[in-house]
Assembly symmetry: C2
DNA sequence: TATTGTTATACTCTATAACTATA
DNA sequence: TATAGTTATAGAGTATAACAATA
């Protein structure tokens, strides 16, 4: 447990982000375990629902390394939730399909996930929740200071953080 | 890069949290590298500033395993930023002190960290920024749905997530 | 007997490299 | 020659267990 005051915590953005991310991940992992799946398993399985994508394509969408994809699929397959079928157009590639049980798990998982999100965001009044989510999207989204492509060019007010000023 | 629409991303709380946490951590690591320290190194070093805490005490405050604390201190010590001195009251324990160079690094690191936070939050108008931080504190803080102690008793809509096996 | 810090070790997670079978 | 998927392996990061010195 943290012994700091709310004011100190509020000023520690890294802590706020790490903690919220980690705690939500823990809740998700625990909640999804009830249907026998991991968050990553759900991620892959849900994206495989159309039944037309290859391992590589799903790996790209899910931002997974192809070797990580192999392990994930091994688990899903041995759990009877997904299967690999040869691509009709490319004999090197394998299409990922969900089994009937897999589709059912995805469905139940969605309900569980929605419930967790509702629980978490439920502590915020409607208006604040909206502002909160908008802010997150703005930070993380395209051109935002926390997007992959770096802080973009719309935030050059501060120099690229050089070692100068010492307080 | 994510190909989903802002609306889809806005509905994916796990993604928003993971992404913001990870992106900020990356920025922090890069920024702090300019003064030759890691985020964890800064965390330990700043908490050692008073010069009175033992390894174990700092490990507890910083939420680090004591063995992780050892390697972290090994690095800080060989970089000349910290030193271990025997405790005057307990000959088993070692007090962690910052060297003069270490204190200087902490000082410069603080400025860098403030700059990164200002950059990131700078894209949010004053009022939204305030709502955003309040919301985060509420989620992560005591009794919040993302606090360590679990969702507390104010969110009992869903059962306490029984344990079972994952895939 | 319990605790501080250390060492050695194991485990998880993920990525790199090499291999196969195709293309 | 290049690509999809697999395998083996290595690396980072962290945790567990055993140990020495001390309480």
């Amino acid at each position: 447990m943290d012994t700091r005051s709310d004011d100190e915590i509020r000023a520690d953005l890294s802590y706020l982000f790490d903690k919220s991310s980690q705690a939500l991940a823990a809740r998700m992992t625990a909640a999804l375990a009830e249907v026998g799946i991991t968050p990553r398993g759900y991620c892959v399985l849900s994206k495989a629902l159309p039944g037309e994508l290859t391992q590589g394509e799903i790996a790209e969408i899910a931002l997974l390394d192809k070797t990580t994809m192999v392990v994930t699929l091994d688990h899903l397959e041995s759990a009877g939730l997904a299967r690999r079928v040869p691509s009709p157009t490319d004999r090197r590639a394998r299409i990922v399909q969900t089994t009937e049980a897999g589709a059912e798990v995805v469905d139940r998982a969605r309900t569980i996930i929605d419930g967790v999100y509702a629980d978490v965001l439920g502590v915020l009044p409607e208006h604040e929740r909206s502002v909160f989510l908008d802010a997150l999207v703005r930070l993380v989204g395209r051109g935002g200071p926390l997007s992959d492509l770096g802080p973009a060019e719309n935030v050059p007010r501060r120099k690229p953080v050089r070692s100068s000023r010492a307080s």
